[in-house]
Symmetry: C2
Subunit: 383 residues, 2 copies
């Protein structure tokens, strides 16, 4: 069993399925501890590939090629939740150590399975219903009601493949637009706040949860995170316990992000899970003793987790492309503000809405950190 394995010594080769910025941060972390990194991603310009030792341009669903690639890896992880679960299953069957395993991946890939999984472990979620036919659409409209979000059960991220609906006509129209894939009807929650918990769990089952971060989104894309989240202590404790319960139930070895809604009255609802480091945990890179990528590396290599303590507060703002130009200007001014750090992912084209980088501001409170981050963000512009 993989959890009995000895830690992988530095110099070992780690494989990452997916070559985006999450894999890139893991790669930089791995390099600083002396590991070698092989990345698998079709994109010749994958941000992670630039930093890795080797880059295989192989489709995730070419299982034979992925198996051949994994032969040179002491352990494999994924950085993208849409890697096909059956590819990961095939790796596991071939005896490759994959951390996290195929279980959290397949659970988080299916919104219905994910919600049922959470409910069975006593973690509350928003009312929902499956929509696989026009009959189920009508019935969901009655049983769950409006306003609602219609989402494809599989394959969405960053607000893609979903629609907000307030009437049955809108819902029918949205279903047509979403292409008749199996859908989920989710009650739109009138939440006070969105927040997330990033938790790490090692091969021995020990966990370490980071301070919750409060998040804002625009068009389904994360705009800002601030930690520690300004939420009632009871909500925080419940969310932490829920994240710990789910990580254990998924037998997760790695990092899990659980996103929650805080409702009026202080109750919480799980929104979704990602079995990997998360954009809302990027603040840990600058604010915590061990970042979420440091934990991911340690878990992957069978090493114990690091301390997660932070001092003060931090805020993270994404730097999205605007389709205006590929050159970011104003770094000098932004970095002149004390406590501001900038991370850019090495992507060439700053297409509109593309995550090009992020900035972190450190301050004594989350409110001050957010103001500082916003001041810094305003100084940056695309040219």
């Amino acid at each position: 069993m993989s959890r009995r394995l000895r830690p992988l010594p530095p110099g070992s080769t780690l494989g990452i399925l997916g070559g985006g910025q999450l894999g890139r941060f893991l790669t930089l972390e791995a390099r600083s501890m002396g590991y070698r990194v092989r990345v698998l991603d079709c994109d010749p310009h994958a941000p992670c590939a630039q930093a890795a030792h080797a880059h295989a341009r192989v489709p995730f669903d070419d299982i034979r090629a992925v198996l051949a690639w994994a032969k040179d890896c002491a352990a494999v992880t994924y950085e993208f939740e849409n890697v096909p679960a059956r590819t990961v299953l095939a790796l596991e069957k071939a005896g490759v150590i994959v951390r996290p395993s195929s279980l959290p991946l397949s659970v988080s890939q299916d919104r219905l399975v994910e919600k049922e999984f959470a409910l069975r472990r006593g973690v509350p979620v928003a009312p929902f219903a499956p929509v696989r036919s026009s009959e189920e659409l009508e019935s969901a409209a009655k049983s769950v009601g409006f306003p609602a979000l219609l989402k494809t059960v599989r394959g969405g991220y960053d607000g893609k493949n979903q629609a907000r609906v307030s009437t049955l006509a809108q819902a029918r129209e949205a279903r047509g637009r979403l292409g008749k894939h199996p859908l989920i009807w989710e009650k739109k929650i009138d939440f006070l706040k969105e927040f997330s918990i990033v938790i790490a769990r090692d091969a021995a089952g020990r966990t370490a949860a980071y301070p919750a971060s409060e998040n804002t989104h625009e068009g389904g894309i994360l705009v800002s995170s601030a930690a520690p989240a300004r939420i009632p202590p009871r909500a925080r404790t419940r969310a932490e316990n829920a994240a710990r319960t789910l990580a254990a139930a998924l037998d997760l070895v790695g990092v899990l992000c659980a996103e929650f809604f805080l409702e009026k009255g202080g109750s919480i609802l799980l929104n979704e899970l990602a079995p990997r480091p998360h954009n809302s945990g990027h603040y840990t890179l600058d604010a915590c003793r061990t970042s979420q990528f440091g934990q991911q590396l340690r878990a992957l290599c069978g090493l114990p987790l690091g301390p997660v303590s932070m001092r003060g507060a931090a805020a993270m703002l994404n730097i999205l492309g605007e389709g205006k130009g590929n050159l970011l200007e104003g770094e000098e001014e932004a970095l002149s503000l004390p406590g501001v750090r900038l991370h850019l992912y090495g992507k060439k084209e700053a297409r509109s809405g593309r995550k090009m980088g992020h900035l972190t501001a450190l301050a004594s409170t989350p409110g001050k950190a957010l103001s500082l981050a916003r001041r810094a963000r305003k100084l940056l512009r695309w040219a």
Copy 2:
């Protein structure tokens, strides 16, 4: 003039002369801010080359090839103090931005020039005399006296090319062994402590000094550093002022390390300078808001420096090869100690005395950090 230049935008290509672990840390820092890195080093296994975007295996003294290489670099720095100053001069003449410039490099490459440079700026050094002949050897023995260190004026590092002498016979023998190169006779100081100041200076002349670290050496190689150094406040202030004075006098844009002796009575003497990040500043990677490599990157790119504040204390121990095996074991146990971080440089052969990595321990005081680091170090072994 280079200091009037606009900051280099992320995506720009930076060149590093030298491919050791110092260049590697700079490369990782550069990557995390979206810069591209080209490294120049003959060694096919240079630790920095693995992490860089491109690796040119060109000798430092092949000026034509270095000039051709630099054509694709927006700015160049060096990470090794024995890069020939005339190579850097040739780059400067060709209009390449080199930060730091050839001045601090050529000053620090010549122990006599370095000491005279310091003395002229009011920074005290140990008594010394040049030894270019047997007559000068006799005269240095009289004027400076014993015990002394005989060192080659150029080309030494990590305790290489030097000898400790207590008698004239030993001095003559050492001169024969050191190969009749120009030597310097330095009075061996009966110091209380060795410590260093790492200071960064940006293109606008602003400086930021890190807390001093107290250092121990064995066989000329740094063994441990702990910060903040336990030295009298007046000694610290004097050393900081000296480092600032020298950085300004050298018109240094980048990072400078100044090593000092603390004498009984609290006076300080400059030992030597390195116009680059320094092993004794590695603790800043884990303990400070901006690491010495973060500052080096910012200075190189014409960006303002970051904050250097640290909380608590830190200790760094080098992990040297022992010629016993190339596999480091015990990471799991070492990393289980809270506050311990491990950095390995990706070198394959753990030859005896080779710097393979380092560990940092964070604690509330330098003494506790040192004990913790030593406990962690004992858990590591080569196999």
